[in-house]
């Protein structure tokens, strides 16, 4: 009897031990049921690997917000997208692109250490992230605590950027790159919107040039989105962005090659690229791009 009991209990014990051990590397794809509507099962124009090559760091809220701050433009909450209609973001398309938009706004607020309105944004992000089943990567509790206590603001930035990266990685690894691409598109649209609003209030050559160099970024983003153009919502977004891309044809970018050099400074290796890149953008073109971006962005956030 005892012998039989041992043979029954031991495999159970081993099984239980293995299961608890895996808690650290949870495979969320098996833990959460993902509705078919959020899995892209259409044919891909380019391979997932090639897409990995394209997608990284296409739009970074940190860099744009840092630039806006560096040119000395004060923070304005008027630029931010309203979170009032977050419950009206019904489709996966709306939720994913909304995530990108609110993510960019969160980065902008974090850069200025403005935690007053941050909770509305992290709440909106949680709602949308839950809506496309990636809420498990968004550490709402920690972010809320950091924002409420107005302390350790570097961690607020670090954790929020990292959470977005984790969502992005998970989506790409689970055949949901369409949503990952939409988040990237949302970040890009809102970042250009923020730049445009700042330029309208305080014209600045560096910011105008930043809008001009987005010609390169937009072409990469379009390449990414065109992979999913069979999805009618994404097709509509591509059409909207194509209109912006059309305006960008009037932006001229020229290059002058230089020899890269490596120097060691205080034990740190520094590579200096030494290339030159010239961006020519007229005021007329600049404002056409800004106005069109406002139109596209407001359509998305349902204004």
């Amino acid at each position: 009897m005892n012998k039989r009991l041992i043979y029954i209990l031991l495999p159970l014990l081993i099984f239980a031990a293995c299961r608890s051990d895996k808690q650290k590397d949870v495979d969320f794809s098996k833990e959460f049921e993902v509705p078919d509507s959020v899995i892209y099962d259409g044919e891909l124009e380019i391979s997932e690997q090639a897409m990995d090559d394209i997608v990284q760091n296409i739009s970074s809220p940190v860099e744009i917000a840092a630039l806006i701050k560096a040119v000395g433009v004060p923070f304005s909450k008027d630029y931010l997208a309203t979170t009032d209609f977050v419950d009206d973001y019904n489709t996966s398309f709306e939720k994913a692109i909304g995530l990108g938009i609110f993510g960019a706004d969160l980065g902008y607020q974090n850069m200025y250490n403005k935690t007053g309105g941050v909770i509305d944004y992290i709440s909106a992000i949680r709602t949308l992230a839950d809506g496309i089943r990636v809420g498990q990567f968004f550490d709402f509790t920690t972010l809320k605590r950091l924002a409420t206590n107005n302390q350790n603001l570097d961690s607020l930035m670090y954790i929020s950027v990292q959470n977005f990266n984790q969502m992005d990685r998970y989506l790409r690894e689970n055949n949901r790159s369409n949503l990952s691409s939409l988040i990237v598109a949302g970040v890009w649209i809102e970042s250009i919107y923020l730049l445009g609003e700042v330029i309208k209030e305080a014209p600045n050559a560096e910011l105008s040039e930043k809008i001009g160099e987005q010609k390169i970024i937009l072409s990469n983003l379009m390449l990414l989105l065109k992979n999913y153009e069979r999805d009618p919502s994404i097709k509509e977004l591509i059409d909207d962005l194509s209109e912006i891309q059309e305006i960008y044809k009037d932006v001229t970018i020229t290059y002058e090659k230089g020899e890269p050099e490596a120097i060691e400074q205080d034990g740190m290796l520094i590579i200096i690229q030494n290339d030159k890149q010239y961006i020519e953008i007229s005021n007329e073109t600049l404002f056409k791009i800004i106005d069109k971006t406002v139109e596209v962005r407001n359509k998305i956030i349902q204004l």
Binding site: I54, E206, Q273, Q277
Partner: protein, 149 residues
Amino acid sequence: MRNIYIIFALFAIILLGNSNKLSAQSGQELVDICGMIAGDATYLKDFQIKLEAAKPGEEPPRAAYSVVLSKNTKYRFSICNSKDFSGEAILQIYDNNRLLGTTYLVATGKSYPSVDLKCSQTGVYHIFTSFKEGKQGMAVVLLSFVERL
């Protein structure tokens, strides 16, 4: 008596198995460590790399990523190697068609845990990571924003 030996052996296997898992560094732990190495720079992206050892007579395997970087910006690439593998990661940064720099200088034999890039051209850059001598390895490469130039 035989049963006791079986039970003892199975418990030993379970305990050893668990102790290995507990000491193994996860990619996320490496990202956090790397964040500390990056210092004041603001975290942007991380690339978690795990490569098998090179097969005899073959080139060391390498991981490739492409990132968009902006002109007039200083970026930092920091590397953290997992203590669970012997491989030491080497990073190479390319623009469209040429090598801009690497964390391992063959001429001096010196390795750097991080490298800063003063980027002067907005565009796509390619990051290649391999492990010295083609050893098996696991590492995290962290991309951070240092400052506007």
